[in-house]
Symmetry: C2
Subunit: 369 residues, 2 copies
């Protein structure tokens, strides 16, 4: 509940309490600029995914560089963003609980909000929430373009759902949500290209049928850090929902031809034990600081050091052709997977040239409901 | 930062916002009672591990049943417990940062606090923090009884370290920390027995040498939910540091002859999508709600339903010989690993007979530093 600030502006990085979430501001800003520059000459806009950064501060930095708004996965995330000054938010996910729909409808009084649907049975429920709040909600149809998670089948079923939304007095058909999550981490460029070709086929097909039905489709949203150049190439997507590009992680680095962004996010950990003759050093960051769902973190800038064997609050460092770090040394670890790692911390510690420059809240940390 | 309460007392469980951390109060209280009854006729006391529950409320319920105090892994956890009225706290872990040592020494003004050391080089650093605060700190020597993580070798090295602590004017030799974490999840009773036999040998040997040196050893701490009957049997351990026994999880359930406690902890999730003809239902709890470091969660009380393919905010339910749940249905999931799962949530929702009875803060959630 009440977590102490891990650092203060002006401190040296090595003075920061560990484990801490470090944001290398030069790399981070370079990433924001690079994405803005990449999208500027295209017809597509960035709607950055806040499920990664969970921060109205970062959302506003992205929007100052041309992003049209933010995506979130949860109503609670939408609330934190809207309360923090973000005025255009898409819940790129289904919302089915009437209580959550009421919260979202209430939020539409202070921000432009939209959500997704993938089942006709939900439309009267969403309509009822919008009507009760006296609001008109924008609803996108999520189509399953390949990953096999949520989403209605592209084509006639999706078009019928769009028609049903458009015919609801308090709803507006907002467009198509066409995100291929699985494609982001396919290891070869060829696999990713094939996945997005398939996604584009289903999307194009659905767009044609919407046009035939006279249904205007204002947004086609989707794409992530691992695949967005492919979606751009198709010319179909109008909004790119990349999030990880701002931070990057060890899993993206394992993609063949990884995305052209710099690692800006680290977990700073400290060596707390180095048993004599054991060939290992133990750091104070384990499962609770560094989720391993996408593999182990990497030790940054220290070739030959390997992080492994995590337990709840410990990780073990071994060395190949390098000296083991000593008790008290601090190491920058590259998270295996940036999204759940950010969600473990209450604060970003922004660092430039070895000094803490800012401390920002991970304001939507834990905002799951 | 600001997470809304997921429930209010009196609500029915199915009204609770998801994902939510549900505590089945009947099972939970039965677990606390069972451990108290198991330890009562032995010479050992419970010093329950708060790294699992992160709650001063639960700590006090354990202490009301005879626990002598609590263990934690982090100084920040010790602070939250002490501020919440817990008066006897062992950091069962090394603390090496002078700032954290100063915080711990400061805390010793309102609670009895102790910590561990496993390296002679740290003793002057701990002594300095205690002296600066005008306090006397109790320091246990952590010995590596088998897991190969932190800890000094049992025997002469450990005894020399104990002597060094005892000779420091502001420190007191508090005893031995002899915890075999890895043994908790060894799958067969035979493997666990062999591991704890080894741990007991190293501990006995060190105790004998301490006695020969005239060093009194007030505490031998260690043991967890998966192994504690074995430590009790040895007669060496005076404090049992089990934590998971209060909740249990899917990983402990996979132990051959699992520990004799009931599953009391669940993550309540809601079906948010069930694409027609897909053979799956998608729930709103993924990596961010249910860490998978120790395997997948289980669906509770619904034979034939299987949770799998988690992504950040989604999990996929498939069915074998059972009907798939419909959109809107809520499912109790048994976490793969209780400790990091609790640490994902801000609130426990305590439920009895289908009704919310209490909402308790996971007060030390995220207390990693």
């Amino acid at each position: 509940m009440l977590q102490r600030l891990p650092a203060e502006p002006g401190m040296r990085e090595e003075e920061v309490d560990t484990p801490a979430l470090i944001l290398d501001l030069d790399a981070f800003e370079a990433n924001l600029d690079a994405m803005a520059a990449r999208l500027a000459p295209t017809g597509a806009k960035l709607r950055a995914h806040a499920k990664t950064h969970k921060s109205p501060v970062i959302a506003r930095l992205q929007m100052a560089r041309g992003a049209v708004g933010q995506c979130v996965q949860k109503v609670a995330e939408a609330e934190i963003l809207a309360w923090g000054g973000v005025d255009d938010i898409l819940v790129s996910n289904e919302v089915v609980s009437p209580r959550k729909l009421a919260r979202l409808a209430a939020l539409s009084g202070i921000a432009r909000v939209a959500l997704c649907a993938d089942d006709p049975a939900m439309i009267p429920v969403i309509e009822e929430a919008a009507e009760a709040a006296g609001r008109r909600l924008s609803v996108l149809v999520e189509i399953d373009v390949g990953p096999g998670r949520c989403g209605i089948a592209p084509g006639p079923e999706a078009v019928a759902l769009a028609g049903r939304i458009a015919a609801s007095p308090h709803l507006r058909f907002g467009g198509l949500q066409a995100y291929h999550g699985k494609a982001q981490h396919l290891r070869t460029p060829e696999e990713r290209a094939a996945a997005i070709r398939h996604a584009a086929d289903g999307t194009r097909h659905t767009l044609e049928q919407l046009r035939q039905q006279g249904l205007d489709c204002p947004i086609v949203g989707g794409a992530g850090t691992g695949s967005f150049p492919l979606e751009l190439e198709s010319g179909l997507w109008t909004e790119i929902q990349a999030g990880s590009y701002a931070f990057m992680d060890a899993d993206y680095a394992r993609n063949g031809t990884p995305p052209p962004f710099r690692q800006s996010l680290f977990v700073l950990a400290q060596v707390m034990s180095a048993p004599r003759g054991s060939g290992r050093a133990v750091v104070d960051a384990g499962h609770k600081a560094l989720p391993t769902d996408s593999g182990m973190p990497l030790v940054h800038g220290r070739p030959g050091l390997i992080y492994g064997r995590p337990s709840d609050e410990h990780g073990t460092i071994t060395a190949e052709g390098a000296a083991l770090p000593a008790i008290g040394e601090k190491l920058r670890l590259v998270p295996g997977h940036c999204d759940p790692t950010v969600d473990r911390f209450d604060w970003y510690v922004g660092v430039r040239d070895g000094r803490v420059e800012c401390v920002w809240p991970v304001a939507a940390r834990g905002a799951m409901a």
